[in-house]
């Protein structure tokens, strides 16, 4: 049952992307898109685990939309921060790799978290091991795991926990 639902999710996701790609809506495109999406949904067996874990409730979706704004804000903030460091006369950086802990267990949630960390300038997810992520940080302000987690992960995790779990 869960696998069937996951397949349906893949299908719906692909059809949505197809309709956006071929924007002026027409019946021809809808039919072709439905056929192609169905074929690919049947074909991509390997993608079922990640789609089976997705949440589709209204709460997950509203928090997902909210996350777009939160992430955008963090993106701008860290861009400004890194730009400031680059332009500063003394270049105040303290690069290093720190260990952080995440509560997220779903694959897609961990993927979203790792990519959110990487996409914001100043931090890059280097490796994952179980509940720990290793993050390259432009300014190592803290070394112990609670503080690094608080600094890097918590702002994203709050939302991702609700969206993906």
């Amino acid at each position: 049952m869960k696998r069937l639902l996951a397949r349906f999710l893949i299908f719906a996701f692909l059809l949505l992307i197809w309709l956006l790609l071929t924007y002026p809506f027409s019946i021809q495109e809808l039919t072709a898109g439905a056929a192609v999406s169905l074929l690919i949904a049947l074909f991509s067996v390997g993608s079922i685990p990640i789609f089976a874990e997705m949440r589709t409730g209204p709460r997950a979706i509203t928090w997902g939309i909210a996350y777009l704004f939160v992430f955008f804000f963090e993106l701008v903030k860290s861009n400004l921060d890194v730009a400031f460091r680059v332009l500063h006369r003394k270049i105040p950086i303290q690069p290093g790799i720190v260990k952080v802990r995440t509560k997220l267990t779903s694959r897609i949630g961990r993927l979203a978290l790792a990519n959110s960390i990487t996409l914001t300038p100043g931090t890059i997810t280097v490796e994952t091991k179980g509940e720990y992520f290793y993050v390259h940080w432009i300014d190592v302000r803290a070394r112990n795991i609670e503080e690094t987690t608080q600094n890097i992960v918590s702002k994203f995790e709050k939302y991702l926990e609700v969206i993906f779990g």
Binding site: F13, T22, V36, I40, S44, S47, N115
Partner: protein
């Protein structure tokens, strides 16, 4: 010193060689006669919104068939030179088999998420070859890249060579069959007017062009996937030999 002198002489000689060409450069005021004919008649005659595609698939369709053949021969060459039988890989030849390292978790989840999307995008490109930039070759390459992602992300991933060869052969066969149909039903080999031209600019337009381009896309995609699969097999083999 003498070396520098010769360098300068060579450069000057080159300049002398290119100079006449330089003087002949003039901005194109109008299209060459053939190009002008394509540009004027193309949309009405073949009904494809993308003029480049009507040239590639119909006016110069035979050349495209040749290109597909070139690609096929290249694939066959790669297969012939690099493939070893999968039995060679089985343990028992005295060399302890080292299992390849698993891909990272993020690459694995990323590939799961992206694979269907990449496939969809590849199909979109070749299905809309007569409307938007792109076509069979580009779409096929995108599909092959989706398969490459799977190969990178999953150590245990095995290509089903039977299905791939079947799709490849069938699409090649139908490509030629449609070409011959054009010879019988319309003006010539690979003529797209064996099907109604439809309404200009919609998905179901330009006669047989979408079908031909889809077949080309499937063929290119499976061929390149085959090349990647062959190279991957050889790569792991070599690593094990070391």
């Amino acid at each position: 010193m003498i070396k520098k002198f010769f360098t300068i002489i060579t450069v000057l000689l080159f300049a002398l060689m290119v100079l006449p060409l330089l003087r002949q450069i003039a901005p194109f005021e109008e299209l060459a006669p053939v190009a002008a004919a394509y540009a004027e008649q193309g949309p009405d005659q073949l009904g494809a919104a993308n003029l480049v595609t009507s040239v590639i698939v119909t006016y110069r369709g035979l050349d495209t068939l040749g290109e597909v053949t070139v690609l096929f021969i290249a694939t066959a060459g790669v297969g012939f030179l690099l493939r070893r039988d999968e039995e060679d890989q089985l343990p028992g030849d005295g060399v302890p088999r080292e299992t390849p390292r698993e891909a990272s978790e993020l690459l694995g989840s990323g590939s799961m998420l992206l694979f269907p999307l990449l496939m969809l995008f590849g199909v979109y490109i070749f299905l809309h070859g007569h409307l938007t930039p792109g076509g069979g070759f580009q779409g096929g390459v995108v599909i092959a890249s989706a398969m490459l992602l799977l190969m990178l992300a999953r150590v245990s991933f095995h290509l089903n060579h039977l299905i791939i060869s079947l799709v490849e052969s069938l699409s090649g066969f139908f490509y030629v069959a449609i070409g011959v149909l054009g010879l019988i039903l319309a003006a010539g080999f690979l003529d797209n007017r064996i099907l109604p031209l439809g309404e200009f600019g919609t998905l179901l337009s330009a006669g047989a062009i979408p079908i031909i381009y889809s077949l080309v896309g499937l063929k290119v995609g499976t061929e390149l996937t085959n090349v990647l699969g062959t190279m991957r097999l050889t790569r792991t083999q070599q690593e094990e030999d070391v």
